[in-house]
């Protein structure tokens, strides 16, 4: 009997607490909705950094580093502008980078940020096995209080992206525990981090830049279902959600749609199967996709607008190359697509003829048929693969979509076409995807694409000492004046399909300014301009 009375007591306690907290819940809700300016902003956009908030391990590589500030940053159009740096220059040989610092930046513990801290941050990041690649750095030295000189091991114009993404840590306060209690010179001060649950930050009133409008920001790390529920309950002012949910209406909230370089495209093996193997003994080459005319025909036959409408529900745009909407994109490199008839004629001319009348062309005994691999758990890529297969069928090409595991993709990506997704604020990605020296390295140039002219442009872009020249060479690698390049009209080593748009359910009172074009990865990147956000009700 004692057992029973215990249960009754417990149930009574639970009911009591539910009633109590129900009242508490309503007050919190109305706090977000009333006319007065809220001082606290709550966001559910994911992006928890499990390893903590240490930039030398990769924290803040996209979006806002919150607690730290960077030497340079990218504006809404991804152009590089100064932040901690007032001036920067690169030597003729491209090896020495000199950065001048502002003198009004202080860490939140009161110490001034000096060239010593910058040199320390870069040297430490170069040695650490984290998620920021600073391996190009030879050494970083503080020349005086506010001048840093960095020497690279080889010329690399993309090193500018480390100046953009690496938050500066204080040399005097950077140790074992730093990731759990970061100190920096950024717009926010760290307050508390409950792992797996939420991060709480407060405005840094001594920040040298424009002060954020909100005194306190809470980042809730709920998953998609939890974030949507929190938005519906009025608990958060923004939820990062997939565009498949963007048809949902929530009272008092609008959908913010942000352009991105988060893209999807088909990688073709560009060499024939000669029995050659990789170092790990994996086969290389595909006799069908090795034909440049066939690859071009696939590019022409695909209706990219239709993919955007049907598969992305309109939240996206047709893709030309791997970096559309960046300053290094070549907007001239596109081809007229959605033309299966034209594609068929191109194939006819190249000798691909359907002699046995089975709907699929063949040439010298090779059928124009190849598998297209995609990760089986990715419904978006599945949709794209199936739609593309239907589109090229009209041109007499057979694509067999196959949902497989990443491990199987690892084994087969040198012999079969794969539906990959990329998209970065760093053009190093373009180098990695198309330079012949990276053939068969990681997921990079999996198709063993090699063109000396393209290699030349990519190398020149890397060696450039100013942004403008570098961007010109990146564009030339996509398609140059002589008509050489890796894009659809030339070598067509990939068939880029779509660029995604990232969707955020946002309180109609929250003004997020002009969001930056986002990289691959949805959620945290929207914080890039968080200091501009304000309440507009």
């Amino acid at each position: 009997m004692r057992l029973t009375s215990g249960v009754v007591g417990l149930v009574a306690a639970l009911v009591a607490s539910a009633t109590f907290a129900a009242c508490g819940g309503e007050t919190a809700e109305s706090g977000q909705k009333t006319g007065e300016q809220p001082t606290e902003l709550r966001l559910a956009i994911g992006g928890e950094s499990e390893e903590g908030y240490d930039p030398t391990l990769g924290w803040g590589r996209y979006g806002s580093p919150l607690f730290q500030s960077t030497l340079l940053r990218r504006d809404a159009n991804l152009e590089v502008v100064g932040d901690l740096a007032t001036d920067w220059s690169v030597s003729e040989d491209g090896l020495t980078w000199t950065v001048e610092l502002r003198d009004d930046a202080y860490f939140s513990d009161g110490e001034q940020l000096t060239a010593e801290d910058v040199a320390y941050t870069f040297t430490t990041a170069a040695e650490q096995g984290g998620l920021t690649d600073v391996t190009a750095l030879g050494k970083a030295v503080a020349v005086d209080e506010d001048t840093v000189e960095m020497t690279l091991t080889e010329p690399r114009s993309t090193f500018v992206n480390r100046l953009v993404s690496l938050g500066i840590v204080p040399k005097h306060a950077h140790g074992e525990d730093y990731a759990g209690q970061p100190v920096g010179s950024g717009p926010f001060i760290f307050v508390d981090w409950q792992r797996g649950q939420q991060l709480i930050v407060e405005r840094n009133d001594d920040y040298y830049g424009d002060l954020p409008a909100f005194e306190r920001v809470v980042f809730s790390f709920a998953d998609e279902d939890g974030a949507l529920a929190a938005a519906r309950a009025g608990d958060v002012a923004m939820a990062g959600l997939p565009s498949t949910l963007a048809t949902t209406d929530v009272e008092g909230m609008d959908w913010t749609v942000v352009e991105s370089v988060d893209n999807r495209g088909i990688m073709f093996p560009t060499v024939p199967d000669t029995g050659e193997l990789t170092e790990d003994g994996l086969p290389i080459g595909n006799d069908v996709t090795a034909d440049v005319d066939l690859r071009r025909a696939v590019n022409v036959a695909i209706d990219r607008e239709a993919l955007v409408e049907a598969i992305l529900e309109g939240y996206g745009s047709p893709a030309v190359g791997p970096a559309d909407a960046t300053p290094w994109a070549n907007t001239e490199a596109g081809v007229t697509d959605a033309d299966p008839q034209g594609a068929g004629e191109m194939l006819e001319e190249a000798g691909w003829v359907d002699e046995d009348r089975d709907g699929v062309r063949e040439r010298d005994g090779v059928r124009a048929s190849f598998p297209l691999l995609y990760p089986a758990d990715d419904s978006l890529r599945q949709g794209l693969a199936l739609a593309v297969a239907d589109m090229v069928e009209l041109a007499g090409i057979e694509i067999q979509p196959e949902g497989v595991s990443w491990e199987e993709i690892d084994r087969r990506m040198h012999t079969d076409a794969v539906l990959f997704g990329w998209g970065s604020h760093d053009p190093t990605e373009m180098y990695n995807l198309y330079h012949s020296s990276l053939a068969g390295t990681e997921y990079f140039n999996a198709g063993y694409y090699a063109n000396g002219v393209v290699d030349g442009h990519l190398d020149a872009a890397m060696a450039a000492t100013d942004e403008a020249t570098a961007n010109e060479e990146w564009r030339a690698a996509q398609l140059d004046a002589a008509g050489e390049g890796f894009t659809a009209g030339a070598d067509a080593s990939w068939a880029w399909l779509v660029n995604l748009e990232h969707t955020y359910l946002t309180d109609e009172c929250l003004d997020v300014g002009t969001p930056q074009v986002e990289p691959h990865g949805h959620g945290w990147p929207i914080t890039a301009n968080i200091t501009e956000w304000e309440w507009a009700c």
Partner: protein, 323 residues
């Protein structure tokens, strides 16, 4: 007696060792590349040289046997190693997460045990009536419903539509750990615990029902009835003890399953417990963390079974504590 206790202890130790060795072997045989899992969507800007640095930091370049030996050696000094994902000692991660999980799992475990047993008794006593059919039907429905689905359903009804409970987390959004009152914590525990116990009720209910039906058909119950024992006395004096055995054994044995269930419930409710750490460790090949979790889980399950045996013996002295 002492010999049997020692034998028992030896079996526990060897089981834990087997679990750990087995987990390590499975992890080494897995095709997942931990560096690739760590790099993830950043693959575009992480070159081979940097990958090499990451592998070096985690000591992945040493042969597996050497790594395991080094790890095992450290375990004897109380050092479970450093988690790759969280960048903190495994002991710290485990302690941090286990505290949250423990409250959730204990509540769910007690609730499901008590309610499951009570409803099982009722169904068994009224076997064949509409009460029995309703309860059994409900139990079968719950047994076949996925935890996350039940969780989402409760979330939408009680948190979104009715607004009675919070949508997630262990404390209100925006509060510091010290600021949250006990009531607030209990409030946040409600839905995840309800989800877990709802699911846990089904097996206890069904097993108890079966045991009660058997007891009710026995000669001694027929004898008691013929002496004029009323249903209430019948339950209290004849049925309760005899029907409790399967429920007790099952409930203690289910501690392991509770881990699996809590994993899903924690994900739905953003409840920062062991479950989430386990998924991350497995998906991203955090060997030290996963081995730590495997070891702790094995110990908890074995302890649970031992307790189950003791309680079973107390309820039914014919059952042996050892053996």
């Amino acid at each position: 007696m002492l010999g049997r206790v020692l034998l028992r202890a030896l079996r526990v130790v060897s089981l834990v060792v087997a679990v750990v060795v087995g987990s390590f072997w499975l992890m080494s045989a897995s095709p997942v590349d931990p560096v690739q899992a760590y790099v993830g969507a950043d693959a575009a800007s992480i070159g081979s040289e940097q990958r090499e640095q990451i592998a070096e930091r985690w000591g992945l370049n040493d042969p597996p046997l050497e790594r395991f030996a080094a790890w095992a050696g450290n375990v004897f000094t109380g050092d479970l190693g450093q988690s790759q994902i969280y960048g903190e000692p495994v002991v710290v991660v485990l302690a941090d997460r286990a505290a949250a999980s423990l409250a959730l799992m204990t509540t769910a475990w007690v609730l499901s045990g008590v309610f499951g047993f009570a409803m099982g008794l009722l169904a068994g006593m009224r076997a064949g009536t509409w009460v029995d059919r309703a309860l059994s039907w409900w139990a079968y429905l719950l047994a076949s419903a996925p935890t996350f689905w039940v969780g989402l359903l409760l979330l939408y009804v009680f948190s979104v539509a009715l607004g009675w409970t919070p949508v997630g987390g262990a404390v209100p959004t925006g509060t510091l750990p010290g600021e949250a009152s006990l009531l607030e914590r209990v409030h946040h525990l409600l839905l995840p615990a309800a989800t877990l116990s709802l699911i846990g009720v089904a097996p206890v209910l069904l097993h108890t029902r079966q045991a009660v039906v058997e007891v009710m058909a026995s000669d001694y119950v027929a004898f008691a009835r013929s002496q004029g024992e009323q249903p209430f006395g019948l339950v209290l004096h004849r049925v309760l003890r005899n029907a409790a055995a399967p429920a007790v054994v099952l409930q203690f044995a289910s501690i392991g399953e509770l881990f699996g269930g809590s994993l899903l419930a924690e994900q739905v409710f953003t409840y920062p417990g062991l479950g989430e750490a386990t998924t991350q460790a497995a998906l991203r090949q955090d060997v030290p963390l996963l081995l730590g979790i495997a070891m702790v889980t094995a110990l908890i399950v074995l302890t649970g079974n031992a307790f189950g045996r003791v309680v079973h013996h107390a309820v039914d002295p014919r059952a042996s504590v050892l053996a």
